[in-house]
């Protein structure tokens, strides 16, 4: 009894932080989403019932950004998981210079996204860009392409930039996960004549599952809220082809000063994220775990 009271005291600072930085803003958003608060009301909140939600329901532009962000999230996180797993498996084996390779692999993750985005703009530039230069030298392109100037290639370019930046994060988590798997399991299964693929399929993957779940969940939440890369690289263009939910919501808040509506969009996106998390849990998180 006494020790549990002490535990609460130790938890108190953390709970305070969660209350102040997570619960309070969410509740505030929910309240705000039922009001009109913008320039016309001189920023005084006026109760508006469900008007903002009705508006959001008919805002086809918003739903386009939701769909686009979902496609982005699934594609980017999927690629990151595959590449991250491959990189983690490679870095798990000992070879000369492994320490250096492990450190180097983390560099993209450490660099600020907006600075990277500026770099990518120049890489994809049609006149000075290194990508066009390489492809033309390799004979794959006859004339330079403005990669960020077409809806499809601009979207792919943003995905590529995101994959390049965040694959190291998955590599790091998965590598840590790999190191918790006892080596005896591999030795024993080798004695029983298991192939490398069988070992991967029946030892590595199941035991890595909890880590994969956490890593993918984390990345999904982050990826659904992607803002900085898009904001700098394309500004949502061309023709709105790369505008994400976060960018559109930000514009409603900060640029249009339409707080009630922005809050409604945020509440809706939070709901979608909750569904996404539930789906992930059903797909990956449930079932066997280390314990």
């Amino acid at each position: 009894m006494k020790s549990s009271r002490a535990a609460w005291w130790f938890l108190a600072p953390l709970l305070c932080l969660v209350a102040v930085f997570a619960i309070y803003p969410l509740v505030r958003m929910l309240v705000l989403s039922f009001t009109t608060q913008n320039l016309e009301t001189q920023f005084a909140p006026v109760f508006a019932g469900a008007a903002n939600y009705q508006r959001a329901w008919h805002d086809s532009h918003f739903w386009e950004t939701v769909l686009r962000t979902l496609v982005f999230t699934v594609t980017a996180v999927g690629l990151e998981l595959l590449l991250g797993l491959a990189a983690a498996l490679a870095l798990h084996h000992s070879f000369v210079g492994r320490g250096l390779a492990r450190t180097a692999a983390l560099v993209p993750w450490v660099l600020p996204s907006s600075a990277l985005a500026l770099g990518w703009i120049w890489i994809f530039n049609d006149q000075f860009g290194v990508l066009n230069d390489l492809l033309q030298r390799g004979g794959l392109l006859s004339s330079p392409v403005a990669w960020l100037g077409h809806p499809g290639s601009a979207f792919a370019a943003v995905i590529l930039a995101d994959v390049w930046k965040t694959t190291p994060f998955l590599t790091l988590l998965l590598l840590a996960g790999l190191q918790t798997i006892p080596t005896e399991l591999y030795a024993a299964s080798a004695l029983d004549g298991a192939s490398r693929w069988q070992q991967f399929r029946h030892i590595t993957l199941p035991l890595l599952r909890p880590v994969i779940f956490v890593a993918v969940l984390f990345r999904t939440l982050q990826s659904f809220g992607i803002f900085d890369l898009v904001y700098v690289m394309t500004g949502g263009g061309p023709g709105g082809a790369t505008e994400t939910v976060a960018l559109y919501t930000y514009r409603n808040f900060m640029r249009y000063l339409d707080f009630g509506y922005g809050a409604a969009l945020l509440v809706i996106s939070s709901g979608i994220l909750a569904l996404l998390t539930a789906a992930l849990w059903l797909l990956v998180g449930r079932g066997r775990s280390l314990s």
């Binding site: 108190a12 305070c16 920023f43 530039n125 100037g149 500004g235 263009g237 061309p238």
Partner: protein
């Protein structure tokens, strides 16, 4: 005692989390302002000079991000939270309607006589005006300018163009690897400025007196001009360019015409240019204005000190200092009347008729609507007519919203 200490624990945590309150002193008066990055120390020099003349006032300038959007966000955040973190705003022209409509700015109209206001370039003054009231002292004249390769035009034996059709005719004669015309076609505020210039150049308008002119024939002509340019007189990548991408293309000798702002003129003057490269400056048919200036926040605790700063920053000495130290393009007419520099005269001639963007509190949304549709047309996702009809529809809905 043990119980008591435990009781105090949460309060200690609260204390640790509380921000450290800034110490306040009555003297000297403080003026706080968020500025652009001051790499060359231009603004620092200006504030030092101001301190020298006004020992009882201190300017506390914080260097913010280079992006005006980001600085606007910081101001909006502070103002919405009701904080009194700032006294002055170093404001971009498109902030003024929003900030004035929100009641955040001091109406400066009657603080100075009309003659004093008349000493500023009309374009720069209009860029700080909302509903016929002046909210901002302009410190910078900034508008779209047409740069051209004087050497190449001389060789072709043609005069600089006065309309977009003339420009296209000349630009077609550019030979690879030189592009005809480079401008800013990325989906961002710069695209709005570029499109607005062409639109006005063809006699059209965007939003005037509550009317939307985007689905009129002039607008269609303007957008068709830009769509035709992409991939012919302009490189395909122009739809991804902001200011710097287009400047570098021109500066490296690979463009006949460049639409850009006056900052390029200073950079070209300092840069090492390819042999034979001669820069010409000529007015665009209808340049868009976009300059900065200072406004006073209604929440300021030292409005009088702020006013003295505005007096100082609009004095010929301060203007001269900003120009000499940092190439800040002056907004005072007298500077251009007294200069012998032909480049400055050409710049002034190119900018004096610049017109501001629509002074609407909902400007940001109107601009986003336009950018999205124009960009879609430029990148071949929509026909110009269809894009403009959609933009007109959305803009009308926006203006009709209570």
């Amino acid at each position: 005692m043990g119980r008591r200490r435990r009781f105090l624990l949460p309060f200690l945590w609260l204390l640790a989390a509380a921000p450290i309150l800034p110490g306040r002193t009555a003297e000297p008066a403080e003026l706080r302002v968020l500025m652009e990055p001051d790499g060359r120390g231009v603004w620092r020099a200006l504030f030092d000079e101001f301190h020298r003349r006004n020992p009882d006032i201190r300017v506390r300038a914080v260097e913010g991000p280079a992006s005006t959007d980001a600085r606007e966000d910081m101001y909006v955040n502070a103002l919405l939270a009701g904080s009194q973190d700032y006294d002055l705003v170093y404001a971009d022209t498109i902030w003024i309607p929003k900030f004035a409509a929100a009641g955040w700015l001091v109406d400066l109209t009657d603080l100075w006589p009309a003659e004093k206001w008349a000493s500023f370039s009309e374009a720069a003054l209009a860029g700080g005006t909302y509903k016929d009231r002046i909210y901002r002292v302009p410190t910078q004249l900034n508008a779209g300018i047409l740069y051209y390769r004087k050497d190449l035009l001389d060789r072709l034996g043609v005069a600089p163009p006065r309309t977009y059709d003339e420009l296209a005719d000349i630009a077609r004669r550019a030979e690879a690897p030189v592009n005809g015309f480079v401008w800013q076609g990325k989906q961002y505020e710069g695209l709005t400025c570029n499109f607005l210039e062409v639109l006005r150049g063809y006699g059209g308008f965007w939003i005037e007196g509550g009317e939307v002119g985007l689905d009129r024939p002039e607008a269609e002509k303007a957008l068709e001009f830009l769509c035709r340019a992409v991939g012919t007189i302009s490189p395909k990548g122009v739809t991804t360019y902001a200011e710097e991408e287009s400047r570098l293309l021109f500066q490296s000798g690979r463009a006949l015409f460049l639409r850009n702002w006056p900052y390029v003129s200073n950079l070209l003057a300092e840069a090492e240019l390819p042999p034979g490269f001669e820069v010409g400056i000529t007015p665009l048919p209808a340049p868009t204005f976009g300059g900065a200036g200072f406004a006073i926040l209604s929440s300021s605790r030292s409005p009088e000190a702020a006013l003295r700063f505005l007096e100082f920053v609009s004095s010929p000495e301060a203007v001269r200092l900003l120009y000499d130290r940092g190439g800040v393009q002056p907004a005072l007419k007298s500077f251009y009347e007294n200069t012998d520099d032909p480049r400055q005269r050409a710049l002034y001639a190119a900018m004096q008729n610049a017109a501001p963007r629509p002074a609407l509190p909902q400007y940001a949304r109107a601009s986003d609507i336009l950018q999205r549709q124009v960009s879609a047309a430029l990148t071949g996702q929509k026909a110009p007519r269809e894009a403009l009809r959609q933009a007109a529809l959305e803009t009308r809905q926006l203006l009709a919203r209570p």
